[in-house]
């Protein structure tokens, strides 16, 4: 199974990367942009998708400061 994990900074925690991107877009002429957050994408083939949550909790994300979302993309 091909899986995709999206890791994003928890709401309320300072996200300097997000802030920089949020400032940069209008400077390039893109208005009406807000709430930009920059996270991380991990894609992997897994034999047992039920173990993905545990992988996220233990390694792929830091649950103290990050949220994660798992998407199953179908057979690899």
């Amino acid at each position: 199974m091909r899986a995709r994990v999206l890791v994003r900074p928890k709401a309320g925690i300072l996200d300097p990367q997000g802030e920089v991107v949020e400032r940069a877009l209008p400077a390039l002429g893109f208005d009406g942009v807000a709430n930009v957050h920059v996270g991380r994408l991990i894609e992997l083939d897994v034999e047992d998708p039920t173990r993905l949550a545990e992988m996220c909790e233990r390694l792929l994300a830091n649950p103290l400061v990050e949220d994660y979302e798992v998407e199953l993309l179908g057979e690899s």
């Binding site: 300072l14 300097p16 990367q17 920089v20 830091n62 400061v65």
Partner: protein
Amino acid sequence: MRFGIIQFPGSCDERDTLAAAARVGDAHLIWHQDRDLGGADAIVVPGGFSYGDYLRAGAIARFAPAMESVAAFAADGGLVLGICNGFQVLCEAHLLPGALLPNANRRFTSRQVELEVLLAGGAFTRTLALGERLSVPAKHAWGRWYADPDTLARMDAGGQFVLRYAPGENFNGSVHDVAGVCNENGNVFGLMPHPEHAVDALVGGSADGLRLFESIRATVEAGSA
């Protein structure tokens, strides 16, 4: 007394730490794959870029076999010092509260900083006085320490804030200007600045960092932790 310094692939400051510790006691390196801590009285998890800081700083190193032994050592009351990347590893391993995030100024910054002692007479600050200032170099990209409000309140009540950046010196945005914290028991301590690079005025600008190593020796020799 004997210091054991953990070495991961990508550690940078382990030899500097070895040299600093060797001014105060005996010291040896512990390869990340080894579970044997070699009879160390105190463990140091050094600075650098273990595993390239890939995924998150310290995220992979915390699972090393050596770190399992360190966790057991800490649970038994052994002294564990984490410097910079070492601090990151200890937070990832949940041996210390909070997490280290990318600097608020978004870049790696290398600068001599002034620190204030908030917890004097503890295991790692035995020879330091409350409010004393230390001049130590800091060099990191992921040094913004963060903990949620409940944790902060608990730590405050428990006297777990050990060092803070003097006014104007906090370039990474750590909450409460925290530069170094310890666990509830006071036997595990992490800080972002590098005391091992302030043990000799000729190359360190100051020898204030040596005081931390001397404190550790004093604590070990006094038989308390």
